[in-house]
Amino acid sequence: MTDVMRQPESAARERGRVPTPPAVVAAAPSGGIELRSVRKSFGSTPAVDLPALSVPAGSLTVLVGPSGCGKSTLLRMIAGLETPEAGHIHIDGQDITAARPGERGVAMVFQDFALYPHMTVAANVGFGLVLEAKHAGRGALPRAEISRRVRDVCDLLGLGDKLGRRPRELSGGERQRVALARALVRRKPVLLLDEPLSNLDAGLRAQARAELIRLHREVAGTFVLVTHDQAEALSLGTRVVVLRAGRLEQAGTPEEIWRCPANLFVARFLGSPAMNIVADSRGRLLGWRPADAIALGVTSPPAAPTDAGEVFEGEVDVTEFVGDRRMAHCVGDHGPWSVEFPAATPVAVGQRIRVLVPAGSLHHFDAQTGTRL
């Protein structure tokens, strides 16, 4: 699985560039992270156990998995908020396993944003820089430079007129942007984001998602984002790392993971509605996505099967209206499965339908191990 991860990072570039790079753009993407045999357990339950994992410099890597899969622990180990029991973490070739959180080239956005309630937006954003200036000694980072950088990053995030506000006077979306600004202002090569969108309203979340992608493009750093939402992972990431029970299930671009899920777990975890899994006559498991099926004899004109595939037959049990589409949950000979039709398709409960899944859309898994065949 590591070979998948060592491909050159290109997705960030595919998203295009803005004509005039703003002030916070770093010169070249840096912040590649390498984890080597990192292990961590809480009590007797292993939280993270990864032989090797790399996060390419400049990527927006999303760690995704069900709750308890170790994604947050992994992020916190990169941040330095947790100590691995074994193994090493490198950032840009430097072993930072034992480095202090403030000195390992990472910044972090917390799930609850963790804004200091007694400070203004400007003070929140500038807090880290002020400390940095203090620790580095006099003259290393002049006050004017700090306030200029704070202003720049706040302008970038549309907070220019909120500098004097306190966190409780801000909306949820503004708070999230302050948290982003506070992390970005320090120009660390790696930005860690722990479920940064989960505390936002549903309406705001889609917008924030797009903003995050734009931001990643503009600052050209390495973003590592944790989420439990597979749709968010696929839409945000240039690279997705699927974890379960502390172990790596699959890593790759969203397209790769979507098209070729490495095993049954990944196949089931990604996509909503989930992939249909049905045992076939040869003792293997067949998987296909509800949207990939072509109805036979229902739609008009009936889709002509141009290539080989599998035909599934079943009785419609429940139908669901989902906007421009209609879901039909069916009971077939080998178990339940679902298909998605255009909304106009006349499917009725109790009706027997047949669908064709083209061979290219079929996934085969080993029934015992669950690995892709």
């Binding site: 080597r36 908020l81 947790e82 100590t83 930072i96 034992a98």
Partner: protein, 319 residues
């Protein structure tokens, strides 16, 4: 800030990172010691070393001047045979009996009354009721002694005007403990009324409103809604308060009667004080301290067990 400095990063792949500490931050092993050292040293020097020392001293014959001599449990044997100590134990029990209703029923009634009719006047009442808690015991003692002066005090003057005989109050062995309790009452009632009021305001107001809409009278609300939710915390708090009120009684006795007249206001705390600082019999005083502490601890545990078996969510405890 020792222990949080950056160590040279290990290069070899073998050394495992330090074991997890929980909490936040990697290099933070001596940090907690640095910050808690003053507290730990304070508690050690002024609480735990003295506690052990008292335990040791209880086995010694020591008057603080001549060298101490080990006498085993002789102090305990003498103490438990001491008539004065027996009397002090009985007196202490009498104090507890007198204070129990003052720590439970009275403050509960006050808290409920104030709570049923909230408003400006109730706030004023509450503030006045709490005032004795912050008042200095020495000034309080001077006041009570003056008012209850048997010859010229206002109490006996008024009683005489009414044709009633005025008792000797603090000079009268049967009245003196009652006066001591009365002097202590202000603090107990004030504190417990406050704590019960807080428990009451934690009760869901909508329950009460629903009951009122159903036409329940105040008394019915108190009986059915409040009593059910409050009975255990009140019992617990009342009993704990009596255990802790021992200190207030001690102070008042030391200020006003010094155990007299004829030992009528004595109690175990004051007896211990007498052994130590009147007779300079350190060994016996230490033995008394051990016996009292064990007794208080036993009382505390018994109360906890009795109430804890049917424990409700957040029963307040006196602090």
């Amino acid at each position: 800030m020792a222990g949080v400095t950056l160590e040279p990063t290990p290069v070899s792949p073998t050394p495992p990172a330090p074991p997890a500490q929980g909490g936040c931050g990697v290099r933070a092993r001596s940090g907690p010691w640095v910050y808690s050292a003053p507290a730990i040293l304070s508690l050690a020097t002024w609480v735990y070393v003295p506690m052990v020392a008292t335990g040791v001293a209880s086995l010694l014959d020591w008057d603080l001047i001549t060298p101490a001599r080990y006498v085993g449990v002789a102090n305990y044997r003498r103490l438990l045979a001491d008539h004065d100590f027996h009397r002090a134990i009985w007196q202490t029990g009498w104090y507890v009996l007198m204070m129990l209703p003052l720590a439970t029923v009275v403050p509960l009634a006050l808290a409920i009354t104030l709570w049923l009719r909230p408003g400006r006047v109730s706030s004023l009442y509450r503030a006045l009721l709490f005032l004795p808690v912050v008042l200095a015991p020495a000034a309080n003692a001077v006041s009570w002694q003056f008012v209850l002066n048997p010859l010229q005090g206002i109490t006996n003057t008024v009683l005489a005007d009414l044709g009633l005989p005025g008792p000797g109050w603090l000079n009268d062995p049967s009245w003196a403990p009652v006066v001591i309790v009365a002097m202590t009452t202000g603090k107990i009632i004030g504190l417990n009324t406050l704590l019960f009021s807080a428990s009451l305001s934690a009760i869901d107001q909508s329950t009460i409103e629903a009951a009122r809409v159903d036409g329940a009278t105040s008394w019915e609300i108190v009986r059915h809604v409040i009593a059910a939710q409050l009975i255990r915390p009140v019992a617990l708090l009342g009993l704990l308060c009596v255990l802790l009120a021992g200190q207030w009684v001690f102070t008042n006795v030391a200020l006003v009667t010094q155990g007299g007249p004829n030992g009528a206001t004595d109690n175990v705390y004051y007896r211990l004080y007498t052994y130590a600082f009147t007779f300079f019999d350190t060994g016996t005083a230490a033995a008394a301290a051990v016996v009292i502490t064990v007794g208080v601890a036993a009382g505390y545990v018994l109360v906890r067990l009795a109430i804890g078996r049917v424990r409700h969510a957040d029963a307040p405890t006196a602090g």
